[in-house]
Amino acid sequence: MHCKDLTEKLDDYMDGGLDQATAEAIASHAGTCETCRAVIERARELRGLLGDYPVPQAQAGFYDRALVRATHKGGRRQRNRWLLSGFGSAVAAGLAAWVIFGLLPDVPQTPDALASIPGVTIALEEERTINLVFASATALDGATLTLSLPDGIELAGFPGQREITWTTSLKAGRNLLPLTLVALTPTGGELIAHLQHNERNRTFRLRVDVS
């Protein structure tokens, strides 16, 4: 067993899809090879994280209400109010991308987190929703949020505006800011979100690449 073989078989190994002899060969190689041991360890950690990735349960009564609406004669579902349905002809650009900015003050930022600016890739001239998440340990009332857009990137509904500022309140916990971006040129660049609350400032950067 060589390191390369192990890497190739890693998924099957993790999924328990290998015959016993091969699995044992991997285990014994990992026993002597530190690099491969670390590779397996990372794969296990990732699996653990994914297995632990929660979704909330349905709210009490939701299933019953959904059943009643479905079986009620002529029952039409009601779209959640914030989901606009008036864009029937627009091209939806698939799922939103998620970018999370932590504001948890007591958690030291790891060097990794500081070094890597999150990035998203959007297609030219196609709307794409980017969900910015601001995770805050405390509620921030009356915060000012300023968005600066790179050249060639516009916020849908705000044509020609490079900078947009508004006042908002953040709850303790996670706050979602969905932005629908459109790239007008293939250049891309950095989108900057600047959050100001009382005397405190935080700047968040998001790299936007255009494909």
Binding site: Y53, G94, D106, A156, G173
Partner: protein, 179 residues
């Protein structure tokens, strides 16, 4: 069959699958409002197809497939235009903060941070990669079940899963370690 009987019959078939379908809706949409919409839309559609539904041997996988198709159609039809902060109930992994308290606080913050990093890393995957890794590694669907739901062949699913995991490992630990 009377209306009331018909409704009971419908409920008897679909209710056992609700939790799994609701989770699937979350994995597809990534947020509560759309997950609820999708779930509701599925029930409306399924009720209209009750005659077919009663004859189906595995209604659970049929319902999952219909939900997936509705989701794909919906995303062709709608785009979203929102410009406000909404509450955390609309997030994937919403309620992460509620998990705090049971565990030792340090571990807990680490877990929260790790999950948030996972959230962010998943956001960098393409949607088909993200969906497959969530269905397989998080929800425990088998490759064959994912094929039945999405119509994507098992071989393709396997290679997407492989690439998605490798990418996640890279994003989460560019230097080879998680922490």
């Amino acid at each position: 069959m009377s209306n009331a009987e018909q409704n009971l019959n419908f409920e008897r078939i679909v209710r056992p699958h609700f939790d799994r379908l609701y989770r699937l809706a979350w994995r597809l949409t990534g947020n509560k409002a759309e997950a609820e919409d999708l779930f509701q839309e599925l029930l409306v559609k399924a009720y209209g197809l009750l005659d077919d539904l009663v004859a189906i041997e595995e209604p659970g996988s049929w319902l999952s497939r219909v939900m997936y198709n509705l989701f794909v159609d919906q995303h062709r039809r709608y785009t979203r235009q929102r410009m406000h902060l909404v509450d955390e109930g609309h997030l994937p992994g919403a309620g992460l903060a509620d998990l705090a308290g049971d565990l030792d606080p340090v571990t807990d913050i680490e877990r929260l941070e790790n999950l948030m990093r996972l959230d962010a890393a998943l956001g960098q995957l393409s949607e088909e990669h993200r969906l497959i890794v969530l269905l397989h590694d998080t929800e425990g669907y088998k490759l064959k079940e994912i094929q039945d739901i999405t119509g994507v062949p098992v071989g393709t699913i396997k290679s997407r899963l492989h690439r998605a995991r490798a990418r996640l490992r890279d994003i989460l630990s560019p230097d080879g370690t998680f922490s």
